[in-house]
Symmetry: C2
Subunit: 309 residues, 2 copies
């Protein structure tokens, strides 16, 4: 989705700097993940191979990027931010591996490749997901992430909350029961805020936490994350309606097929797009006081509006 | 298994004090779990109900007991130790919920009741397991567990390592592939040390960590945990051979049916029992220097040898 060709940049998307930053960020976090994940081989090699298969699948590393940019606002050392970024990508990947399972969304494809349970088997996919979640906490809690134990414990608690029943897992729980409910816009927004929004919030608040910048900055970054999360969700829903499996590398038209309400199905394509555009402007304004270091955070939601996959 | 009737105590098992302590410990940790788990109700109620169903299933709370006893050696405040104890029980329960899934052991019964995926559904069981693992880290990282962030972060890291690919998940990975391997005694012991031993080690080392007692005490408690873990595994394997589903509340004879090597299948019932008895004595000797506060830790492995369920 976010890796456009040079040709497309030249046609004037106006995001070439952001795209370059995204590509560089992706390479950096991949290098850290490569080092932090258990090495291939050994008696446990099957689950370790599956962890690597799932995480090195050409993901966009959007969450790590958000986290790195949030850290950048407060001058956090990149080596620290990259570890937290690797952790959040491990959590995101675990959620995809489990969501794809036959008992959940039963997806065969993810980013154009067989899902982890198809490439390996269901038991290995369950365990690889469990292991990715587990290692995320191990990475964050390690002294290399931050010299202060208070900061590390705080990050662990935030990550757990964002991932748990009041965050991502709660959202997924509501989502799998969603087709049987007549959700309105408020409930759809709550569902999104839990299912995908909570991890975005962790990414954005990780910067001020790592910098021990204080509650005011945390609240500002949280507000940014909430606007950003909604832009992300609306553009994701629009893609599900408008794009093709070829472009997205996964099944499309699923929401409608499953009878799930989305903001797009509730208010229509044009109104949803207009809402997303407003939110992208709001998000940019929230981080404007940080000046030039916030350039990427300002551009990112607008860039999402140009998503084609 | 560990809750005998008063009548049996009177017949002279000689463990009535330990049994009382186990029962009291179980009630204490249940009360803490009741308070720490998300309340029933709300849009996410299904996964929260499943978490409670899985964890309040009449488990023996052996791991919390070990942790509380380890903490007791070093004068750790019970309110702190109980939170860590609740966390380890959440991790243990998550592992049972996922291990019971159709794609893993495909068990219908656990402690005499339908397994979580039978009582709810597979998707809910996967998510409830995920949520139990997640909340364990949230509990440990919370300032209520210990005033020092260093201690909390250290506990998180230890718990993650014990649960991950070099601990419990690694053991489970090897175990599901075990029927296709010709394991010898060394490999069976390694498998046990990962699959069940690593969590016991966390329980035993949590005491000195919470007390900031230092590496020497940690090493002593780790040595105790390793001996204890083997006693536990051998008695568990003996039960699988000798007991009935009625007594254990779960399927028996599974190891043989699946062609899995155990210490019992490798060396025979009598030699395995003799080995367990030696290890129980060793374990007791390791913690003898702590005097009276170590009474329960000394008695526990010997008590396991009397297991009937």
């Amino acid at each position: 989705m976010l890796q456009r060709s040079g040709h497309m940049n030249q046609t004037g998307t106006g995001f070439s700097e952001l795209e370059l930053a995204l590509q560089m960020g992706s390479k950096q976090v991949d290098a850290v993940l490569e080092r932090l994940l258990p090495p291939p081989g050994g008696l446990q090699c099957r689950v370790q191979d599956a962890m690597r298969y799932a995480i090195f699948a050409g993901g966009k590393r959007l969450r790590p990027f958000l986290l790195m940019q949030s850290a950048c606002l407060f001058g956090v050392a990149p080596v620290q931010a990259l570890r937290a970024a690797a952790a959040i990508e491990a959590v995101h990947t675990y959620s995809l591996v489990h969501d794809d399972l036959p008992c959940m969304d039963d997806d065969d494809l993810r980013r154009g490749r067989p899902t982890t349970h198809r490439a390996f088997d269901e038991a290995t996919a369950v365990l690889a997901g469990d292991a990715l979640l587990t290692i995320a906490f191990e990475i964050v809690a390690d002294p290399d992430t931050h010299p202060s134990g208070e900061v590390r414990a705080r990050l662990v608690a935030e990550l757990a909350r964002a991932s748990g029943t009041l965050g991502m897992i709660g959202g997924q729980t509501i989502d799998i029961e969603a087709p049987s409910h007549a959700f309105g816009a408020d409930e759809v927004i709550l569902l999104q805020r839990l299912k995908t929004g909570a991890l975005f919030e962790f990414c954005c608040v990780a910067g001020p936490i790592l910098a021990e910048a204080g509650g005011e900055h945390e609240e500002r970054l949280r507000a940014y994350a909430r606007a950003f999360g909604l832009v992300f969700q609306i553009t994701d829903d629009l893609l599900d309606v408008l794009s093709t499996a070829e472009k997205t590398g996964k099944a499309v038209g699923k929401d409608a097929k499953q009878g799930k309400a989305t903001l797009v199905s509730l208010v229509g394509i044009e109104a949803a797009r207009a809402r997303a555009e407003d939110l992208a402007v709001q998000a940019a304004e929230i981080v404007a006081p940080y000046g030039a270091p916030a350039n990427s955070l300002q551009a990112l939601p607008k860039y999402l509006l140009t998503r084609e996959a």
